[in-house]
């Protein structure tokens, strides 16, 4: 069958919609920036964001360009297993809030690395900051390349020019607005992308003959029999138990380690507002995620029933293709503006995280006595510098940085999440355990990935490429090393006398809301032994052959 290459027929309307949305982003950024009176305000939006705005912002940081492009392409390719991979992403903010979001909000943290510095010391924090910046650059790079490709398609200019112009526009409004601008822009972008995704999808379903077009996220069961006739394996689970199990360490714990998601909790006006935002996040995230599955379903249905085969290189444009086939040109233009908004909201959050880590976790640690005015200028420079670096790397990206963004989730799960989770909940965790666990498991995750040393790979195929096989081994490895090394070194006075571990214990009680400190709380060695034993079991299970 001959594949039809899809091109945008009339880019003018798209340019108008995208141009207008950028005007809004800059206005919101400029207006919000005036509220930032100090560098703390700049990074945490004055810890004043309400629950609905924050819930929208949380969901928006998560709805990357992948929602409009990558996900539907992968549903087209993988069918239902990819839906399972996506569903669990909605757990991120509730789990972050439950495990460490509210304690770190209470502490007044800027980033998870800030907590690592206070809890495990400066040297451990440098190790985690390096991993976190690498994760954020990989994440932002993927989005930056995606936005440049949409600009390239829209304006008919070459990739490099599209990247520099689009990238500069994005970095500009993020730098101007800081966390205030990013939060309010993210809320606006979430509404824009939600409307641009769901309403046109309803029209597509109606045109396809679906009777549930008025609620696209769930009402398309009448299309199922035709789908089963055309694509009998669409609902097959295809993979083994290990594949589905590895979603937990790779993506659920991985998302818990992403600094830009945790930072959303710290902008809340208070803890109750943060928890309210978590409920709103689940609502907004769920409605868009479910619509994404519907879009993927419609794409597979379209390809199977319309007789017009989509070229594999165009799989990621299925949302745009369906809109160009079934909806008027102005709707397609609106959808393109929504897709760009989705990319921007994620890049903004990534750049804020990179900037905060450079300014607050590195520069402020090395030079602690800088004035607030200087720190604010450093903040602007850190974000602009991080953005400019992302653009420069995206001009000719090294292969190892354009591996799947999903692989970066696994790296966050391996290097960040265990340190923060145990750091908040288990007093015996110490800096020796944290540093060794982060370094050894992080480097092991890199070594066993198929990108660097193809002869040393755990598992194979797609699951190895997206980091699922590596995470199933390295996340438990990190928990195992953190607990065992900490328990062993806690028994060596020569090591423990080098720092004030009592101060760490007081910090843990304090961030949980206790005004007094008690050695009875969060201090169970039995819990540490259980975590170590379970982790060791999963390490062994991960390297056993089969099960995928």
């Amino acid at each position: 069958m001959e594949h039809e290459k899809w091109v945008l027929e009339d880019p003018m309307l798209g340019m108008i919609f995208v141009g207008a949305s950028f005007v809004f982003f800059y206005l919101i950024g400029w207006y919000s920036q005036r509220a930032a009176k100090s560098s703390t305000d700049y990074w945490t939006a004055g810890r004043s964001i309400g629950s609905i705005t924050n819930g929208l912002g949380m969901a928006s940081s998560y709805m990357s360009l992948a929602t409009f492009m990558g996900v539907t392409a992968l549903i087209l390719k993988l069918k239902v297993p990819f839906v399972y991979m996506w569903i669990q992403f909605a757990l991120s903010i509730p789990l972050i809030t439950l495990w460490y979001g509210t304690p770190l909000r209470r502490m007044g943290a800027f980033t998870p690395a800030h907590f690592v510095r206070e809890r495990y010391g400066v040297h451990t924090s440098y190790v985690t900051v390096v991993f976190m910046i690498l994760i954020m650059v990989m994440y932002a790079l993927g989005q930056m390349i995606g936005v440049a490709k949409v600009f390239e398609m829209l304006f008919g200019i070459n990739y490099n020019l599209a990247l520099i112009c689009g990238g500069a526009l994005i970095v500009g409004y993020v730098t101007i607005g800081g966390m205030y601008g990013t939060s309010y822009n993210a809320a606006f972008q979430m509404i824009l992308m939600g409307v641009a995704f769901i309403i046109p999808l309803g029209a597509i379903m109606k045109a396809m003959g679906g009777t549930g077009w008025y609620f696209p996220p769930l009402l398309y069961s009448d299309m199922v029999p035709a789908m089963l006739d055309a694509v009998p394996d669409f609902f097959d689970m295809k993979y083994g138990f290990k594949w589905y199990l590895s979603l937990i360490p790779c993506f659920t714990l991985g998302a818990m380690g992403l600094p830009h998601l945790g930072m959303r909790v710290y902008t809340s006006s208070n803890l109750k507002s943060a928890r309210g935002a978590m409920v709103w996040f689940t609502f907004f995230c769920g409605i868009v995620f479910c619509s994404t599955y519907t879009m993927g379903f419609s794409g597979v249905y379209f390809q199977a029933t319309s007789g017009s085969a989509i070229a594999p290189t165009d799989f990621d444009k299925i949302t745009l293709i369906l809109n160009s086939v079934y909806n008027p040109a102005w709707v397609l233009a609106f959808v393109i503006a929504g897709a760009i908004a989705a990319g921007l909201s994620t890049i903004s959050a990534n750049l804020m995280a990179i900037g905060a880590m450079i300014a607050q976790d590195i520069i402020a640690t090395i030079k602690p006595n800088l004035s607030d005015k200087t720190m604010k200028v450093i903040g602007y420079l850190a974000i602009a510098g991080g953005g400019a670096t992302s653009i420069l790397i995206a001009l000719n990206p090294p292969d190892f940085l354009v591996v799947s963004i999903l692989w970066a989730f696994g790296l966050a799960g391996v290097t960040v999440a265990p340190l923060v989770m145990l750091g908040v909940w288990w007093k015996p965790a110490n800096r020796y355990g944290a540093t060794i666990a982060c370094l050894v498991s992080g480097l092991t995750y890199i070594v066993v990935a198929p990108y660097f040393f193809p002869s040393i790979v755990v598992g194979g195929g797609l699951e190895a490429k997206v980091g699922m096989t590596g995470s199933l081994l390295c996340v438990p490895l990190c928990f195992f090393l953190l607990t065992t090394v900490s328990m062993i070194t806690n028994k060596i006075p020569a090591l423990m006398n080098r720092f004030d571990y009592q101060k760490d214990h007081v910090l843990i009680d304090k961030i949980h809301g206790w005004s007094d400190s008690s050695e009875e709380r969060y201090n169970s060695n039995t819990a540490g032994i259980i975590v170590a034993a379970v982790s060791l079991f999963f390490c062994i299970y991960a390297v056993l052959p089969g099960g995928w």
């Binding site: 909605a90 609902f235 589905y244 659920t252 409920v279 206790w514 709380r521």
Partner: protein, 88 residues
């Protein structure tokens, strides 16, 4: 050890388990293949149940999580207030 602390640990473990169940029902269907391919609301069970749990049921769980952990914060604050009164 006071009851608020035990409650905090209990809530964290229970809600972690509930959240993981909501987001990872695929595991159940792959572990027990007999649960697959029953039509529910017109969709195969292995498709619609995880999707519904991953959104609507998750919202309910998260709502309870917010309510109970907010109440727990208040309880800890009361204990702290009692503690500072005793000190005075």
């Amino acid at each position: 050890m006071n009851s608020a602390y035990k409650k905090e640990i209990r809530y964290t473990l229970i809600f972690s388990a509930l959240l993981l169940i909501c987001g990872h029902l695929g595991l159940l269907f792959v572990a027990f293949p007999g649960l697959q391919n029953h039509m529910i609301f017109g969709f195969p069970s292995q498709y619609i149940i995880p999707i519904t749990f991953g959104w609507l049921v998750l919202m309910v769980v998260v709502g309870f999580q917010a309510k109970l952990t907010n109440a727990l914060d208040d309880e800890i604050e009361e204990l702290n207030a009692g503690l500072s009164e005793n000190v005075e």
